[in-house]
Symmetry: D2
Subunit: 278 residues, 4 copies
C-alpha cells in the first residue's frame, strides 16, 4: 500500500504539499491512518513539470523522511503540476528503478495498489508490452508494467481508454491464470497538460482510498483566515491517497470505479470500466 | 528510541536471533510494542566476534528489513558473541558512521537512549575525549561520544567503572548547563570475552526497557519440545531491549540502575551508580 | 569491461585475494592495466560458499574501495570457493540487482563482457528464459540474462554444454537481428563443487583476458621465501581477469575459446564451442 | 584532489556547465588531465541560489556519473550563481555530510586540497570553532572545519579577511605541531551576491590549479559561431579547477596566492596573505 499526491494549479513550491501540511505525505509515510500498513519506508519519488520540455523526476530508496536532498529540492522547486509518491514494497526489490513516478517522454505515472498473483502473471504481461518500448522497462514492479501496458494501448492518444484497456488486459490475464480479482489500484498520471486520477479494484472489492480537494474558492469561504488556502488559485486542485488535513469541507472522496481529469476549465469525472484491448 | 540485542554462548548463526524469532529484532524495527516510537528505520548494525582478532562490524543506513546484504550475512556468519542494533535517530544524520555498534580495538558498543540537551553539551563532552582517541570519532551521535568517553575513562581496564564515570561526567556536564536529567540509556558492550549490559536513567526516571534470558537449562524444562531452545548451550544468554518471544518464563527484566556481566561461569548483576571521573 | 576473480582451494580469508595482493581486485578497480577502461566503480559483489548450504552473496553499488562493509566481510569470512566481481556498467542502471554474482539455488555466476546490440536483442533473449525461472530475474543486465539462459539450457546438469548452448543462442539471436559478433565474455560460475571459467568472443575477436594460477607446488619452488604462497594448499587455484601480481611464473593465460574446470583432483581445460540449443 | 566549478551571470541551467561541455565537471570526475589523481568518485554536490532565500544543496556519495537524480536536477534547475564539486577523499569517510558544498545561512563553500597532518591538528582546529557554531559541524573533513573557522573569523562581514585568518590560523596550528606546509587549497564560496575564489598553498608550494573564464564579450569575438557562448551574458563568469574546454583564449589561470571576487560590475583580483586571527 503506497501513498501519493498530485497537484494541478498555479505554481507552488513542492514542499507546500509534500512537507508543510497537517498530514503531509511525509507524515503519512511514517504513520498510516486510513490503511493497515504501518508505513511507507521503501523509497519515494517526485515528478514535476517545470521550464524544460521533459518533466523532472527525483527518486530514492531511503525512507522519504531520511532524505535530505528531497527536502532541499522541495524547498527550491516550484511547479504547476506534480506527482509525489511514497512506497511500501509488496515484494519487489527496493531500488531506484522500482520507485515511482515512472516516466516516458512527457508522461509520468504513479500507482498505489498491486496486481494479485503478479509473480504468476508477470511474464505474460511483460510480453504484451510494445517491443519498441520493451527496452525501456528498467525495474521489476507491477506498477511499471501497468504503465508500459497503458503506453502500449495508447496512453498518449486516449489516456483513459488506454488505462481501461490496461486494466482489462490485466484482469483477462489474471482470469486465464485463475486469479479472480487481479487489480487493486489508484493511479495518478500526467502528460504535463492534465492530471488523470483513477480509483478502481477488480470484482467490486473496496478500492484503495482517493480524495480530491474541493474548489479553492469554496474552501476559502469556509476558512477565510487560512493563509495557505488564501494563496491557492481558483483552479488549484490536489488529488491524494489520504487527506492532507482534517479540516472538514476540503476533501471529497473520489468514488470507486471512476476517473478524474483535472485540467484548465471544468474538471471531469467519468466512470472507469476495464475493457479488453482491441 | 533504538533497539538492540546481545548474545553470548555457543556459536549460533546471527539470523537465529536477528530474524528467526517470534519478535525478532527485524520485526521489532518495523513495529514497536513496548515503546511509543513507531519504528527503527534509520539504519542498523551488527558487530560480531569471529575467528580473527578484531570483531567484524556491518552497518548501513537503510531500514534493516530492506537490506538484503544483512540477511545474507546473518545467514552465513556464526558467532559466540555479537551485538545487533536498529536505530531511530534522535536528530543526528542518518549515515553509516552514526550507526551502532561503534568499535575501538577489540571493543564494540551499542546504545539505546539519548543525552538530553546534547546540542548544548556536545562541545564540552567532545573536548573531554582523550586527544589520542579524538581523531577516531567519525560520526556525530551522542552514543559515539559516550563510547569514547568510556574509553577515555578506562573502559579497557575497568569496564563498569569506566561506564559509571562516563555517566557521571555526562550528568555533571548537564548540571553545569542546567540539564536536570541528562542520561537515558541502555548500553551493550563487549571486548570479546564478556558481554556488559547497563540500564540506567538520570534522576530516577524510568529507564528504557532491558531484558535477559533465563538459564537455558531452566528454559528447556519449561518448553521441552521447543527445538530452538534445545540447540542452546547451558551458558547461552540473550540480552535484549524487548523480548524476542512471548513465551512466559524465558525473559527476566533487568532492573533500572543495574549492570549485568554475561561471562563464562556465573553471570554477575551489580548496581550501577554514576560517579565523577577522578 | 568488468573484472573478476575466482578461488578454489583450502579455505582462505576473502581479503587475501580481494585486498592483500600486489594488484588486488580492489586496486584493479581503481586503475586498469590490461584494458582501456579507466575503472570499475559501478558496483561490486562477492559470492562465497561457507558452512550453510546456500552460497552467501554480498553486492553493493558503491565503488568497491568506498565500501567499508566489504572490507569487514572480507576480513572475517573464510571460504574454500568464492567469486568476486567489480563492475563497469555498459549502460544498464547501477543498482544492487545488476551487480554480480547472480545466484540461483547453489549456483553463482559472474561475467566480464557484453552482448553486442543488447537493447535490440533483449526482448527475444528474455522470452527464451524458462517461464518457471522468469519471475526470478531481478535486474536488467545482459549478464543476468546470460545466466538465466544457461540455467534454462541445463546448467545444473551439464554446465559447460549449457554455457555453449547459451552462447550459441545469443549468437543466433544476434544473427537474426544483424548483429555479427554478439558475444564478448569471460565467465566464472560455480555450484559449490567446481569452479567453471570460460573465455570466448564471437567471430574470432580477441576475447577479454583471463588467467589461471599455476600449481601452488610449482609456484612455491619458484618463490620459496614467499609467505603467502607458503600458505596455499597444493590444489589452490585462482582464476582472474588480470594477474594479481607481477611475479613471473605464477600466471598462465587461458586461451580464447576454451573452458576450465577447477576441481578436486586434476583440473580440466576444454575447447568452448557455442552450439544451438536443442 | 577534488575538482569544482563556480558560475556567476545570467541564470543558466546547471547542466550547461556540469554536463554539456567538452571537459565538463562530470567528464573531469572520470579522468584527470591536469592532476595525478585518477578520478573523483567519492561523492559530489551542487549548491545553487534560486528563488528562495536560502541556497539549495544537493549532495550524494555515489560517483557523480552514476547519480541519475543529479542529471535530472541539473536539467531542471536554472540559477544565476552556483557551485559544483566532485570529491576524491583524502581519507575521511565517504558520506553525505562530508560532501561539498557546505552551507551555513546564505553561505556555501567548496574546497579542493587538504590540511597536511589533519589527524594531528584536527582537535585543536575544531576547538577554535565558535561554540555557537560547533553543533552545526556535521561531518569530519578538513574542508568543513576550514569553512567553520572562516565563519568564526568573520566570513559574513569581511569574507576575504576571514579566509586569510582561517589560513593563518591553520598554518600557525600546523607550525605548533611541526607541520611545515599546512595548507593546500583552492576555495570557492558565495553568499548569493558575489562569488569568491582563492588559490593558495603554504610555503610557496605550487597550489592546485584554478582558472577563470575571460570576458564573455571578448570570447564571443574569438568564436562568433559558437552557440553556447552566444547565450552567455557579458557579465557571465566561470571559475574552475580545470578548463571546461580546450578552446584557446577562453581560460585564464588565477595566480597562486591570490583571490578573485566575481560580482556585478568589475570583478576584483587581490593578493591573498594568511594572517593570524586577532
Amino acid at each position: 500500500m503506497c501513498r501519493w499526491l498530485g497537484y494541478f494549479g498555479d505554481p507552488i513550491r513542492l514542499d507546500e504539499l509534500v512537507y508543510n501540511t497537517e498530514h503531509s505525505l511525509l507524515e503519512q509515510s511514517r504513520a498510516a491512518r486510513l490503511t493497515t500498513h504501518l508505513m511507507n519506508a521503501d523509497g519515494f519519488g517526485v515528478g514535476w513539470y517545470g521550464t524544460s520540455g521533459t518533466p523532472g523526476v527525483y527518486r530514492n530508496v531511503l525512507p522519504a523522511w531520511n532524505d535530505r536532498n528531497l527536502r532541499e529540492l522541495c524547498a527550491q522547486i516550484q511547479s504547476p503540476l506534480f506527482l509525489a509518491h511514497v512506497r511500501a514494497s509488496t515484494g519487489t526489490p527496493v531500488q531506484q528503478t522500482n520507485c515511482h513516478p515512472f516516466r516516458h517522454g512527457s508522461w509520468i505515472f504513479v500507482h498505489n495498489g498491486f496486481i494479485e498473483g503478479y509473480e504468476l502473471l508477470r511474464r505474460e504481461l511483460v510480453l504484451a508490452i510494445d517491443p519498441e518500448l520493451f527496452a525501456q522497462v528498467e525495474g521489476t514492479t507491477d506498477s511499471e508494467v501497468m504503465f508500459f501496458l497503458a503506453l502500449t494501448f495508447g496512453l498518449a492518444d486516449e489516456p483513459l481508454t488506454a488505462l481501461e484497456r490496461m486494466a482489462g488486459f490485466v484482469e483477462a490475464t489474471g482470469a486465464r491464470h485463475g486469479v479472480e480479482h487481479a487489480l487493486q489500484m489508484t493511479i495518478g498520471a500526467s502528460d504535463g497538460e492534465r492530471l488523470y486520477a483513477v480509483r478502481y479494484a477488480s470484482g467490486g472489492v473496496e478500492a484503495n482510498s482517493l480524495f480530491v480537494s474541493n474548489d479553492a474558492s469554496d474552501v476559502r469561504q469556509l476558512y477565510p483566515e487560512n493563509e495557505r488556502l488564501g494563496h491557492l488559485s481558483d483552479e488549484a486542485r490536489a488529488v491524494v491517497s489520504e487527506p492532507l488535513s482534517d479540516l472538514p469541507g476540503i476533501w471529497r472522496e473520489v468514488p470507486s470505479s471512476s476517473a478524474l481529469i483535472v485540467q484548465p476549465g471544468a474538471d471531469e469525472e467519468l466512470p472507469f470500466s476495464p475493457r479488453e484491448p482491441s
